[in-house]
Symmetry: C2
Subunit: 234 residues, 2 copies
DNA sequence: TCAAAAGTGTTGACTTTACACCCATGA
DNA sequence: TCATGGGTGTAAAGTCAACACTTTTGA
């Protein structure tokens, strides 16, 4: 912030009205929490019970606490909602149209997160919270659809050259599962041979010398992400 | 924002203390304004006269106005500082460590901007504002160095596949100027023949059938960006 | 024995990099 | 005539997309 802004800040402290104008703005974070199940990319949403958005779903978010770093707030939200810490979380952007929140001015910073649905499954106690198939989400409360789309776009870009998507999978996975995951993220079908070639070129995977079981067809080999490549935040 | 947050918001309105805790946070925008001159990438900085940052330079920024969209604020800042509107401006990220501002809690959203130094040259009246060579900037007030680095990184990525850098050049330019610009942004030398091939592959340029003059060597052809490709914001 | 998916290579198109010479201009 | 940069092409390496058959397993 510049000198002028600071002067204004001091002036604001003297003049109550101006002060309230400048500071009567809420700051929140919203989390776009992606999961992967049954070959579909999912997003965790909560029922909005704001009157203006009756029956609409919205992202998980909260006002930031006064003595909490901005980038720490989404970890708190995730911990409260899913019981997980040590998750992948990345800031995507801030949304601050004057009229975006019907109850007053709220500027929000959006984060996207990738979690393994099975790991946190038992920890969601709040039954207003549900997984939705990303491709089927048409409309959300506030500007949350726009925020979700921005996060999805970021995920697509990032998935192409950084080993982030493994946060969505169990520790051991087959190449088929990995390919299904990429297909659900990118929304396109991929050629199996080319996909395997490309993945093996990246040297992200460690061959476990184990096979799938409980599959109704020929089992594939299992892999895990090489140690040291797990990304929690970039 | 979720229901709980809203409830808290309403509670906050009733209880003054909590209200002040939650809302006594300043929100600012900071602009990383890049220019290009004498084969060097420049950034526009202002002298900080905060006691804590005596003799340090800082980014141009301001508190956002109460009834102004977040993404509009940097346009206002630029207009005030350089007299320019219709500039390229893009949000890069938000920075909100509790202690980032010595005078109180301020969360800032950073934008990067690309402007043609010659166009605005005469409009800077504030003589506390100066251009600095990006490569020579070692330290700035607040966390502004970190912010500048984040913006530079974004610029580097974006310059590679979108026609954004033309905002830094005069309307007519030679391929040498364009190559010098790319080199200053990326911080590497490029092969002339390969650079020209790559640029011509992008089909961004319109050959003006004019030549440079006032150069102490063989003049090169002049080009301009094809109409319709000028990017102000993405 | 059938259904389902595993596993595996090659070719052609395209992209990227490295590299060197002659030319036009102004000083 | 010299210094400076303008302008240009090719070959080798690498990357990307398209494409099909045999194998293994469980039901």
């Amino acid at each position: 912030m510049t000198t002028e802004a600071l002067n204004r800040l001091k002036t604001a402290e003297a003049e109550k009205i101006t002060h309230l104008d400048y500071f009567n703005i809420g700051i929140s974070v919203d989390c776009v929490i992606f999961g992967f199940e049954k070959k579909e990319l999912k997003v965790l949403l909560i029922k909005s019970d704001l009157e203006e958005f009756a029956d609409k779903w919205s992202l998980l978010g909260d006002l930031i606490d006064p003595f909490e770093d901005l980038d720490s707030a989404p970890y708190r939200v995730l911990k409260q909602r899913t019981g997980l810490d040590d998750v992948f979380l990345q800031q995507v952007g801030s949304f601050g149209e004057v009229k975006r929140h019907p109850s007053g001015r709220v500027i929000t910073t959006a984060y996207y997160s990738l979690i393994n649905i099975r790991n946190h499954q038992l920890k969601i106690t709040d039954n207003e919270v549900h997984w939705h198939t990303v491709a089927d989400v048409k409309d959300l409360a506030f500007d949350h659809k726009k925020i979700m789309d921005a996060c999805l776009k970021r995920l697509r870009v990032q998935a192409m050259d950084e080993p982030v998507v493994f946060n969505l999978l169990p520790e051991k996975f087959s190449l088929r599962e990995l390919q299904d995951l990429y297909q659900s993220i990118l929304g396109i079908k991929l050629d199996r041979r080319n996909f395997r070639k490309k993945i093996s070129l990246k040297s992200w995977l460690h061959d476990l010398d184990e096979m799938e079981n409980n599959v109704p067809h020929r089992p594939g080999k299992l892999y895990k992400l090489k140690t040291g490549l797990k990304t929690t935040t970039l």
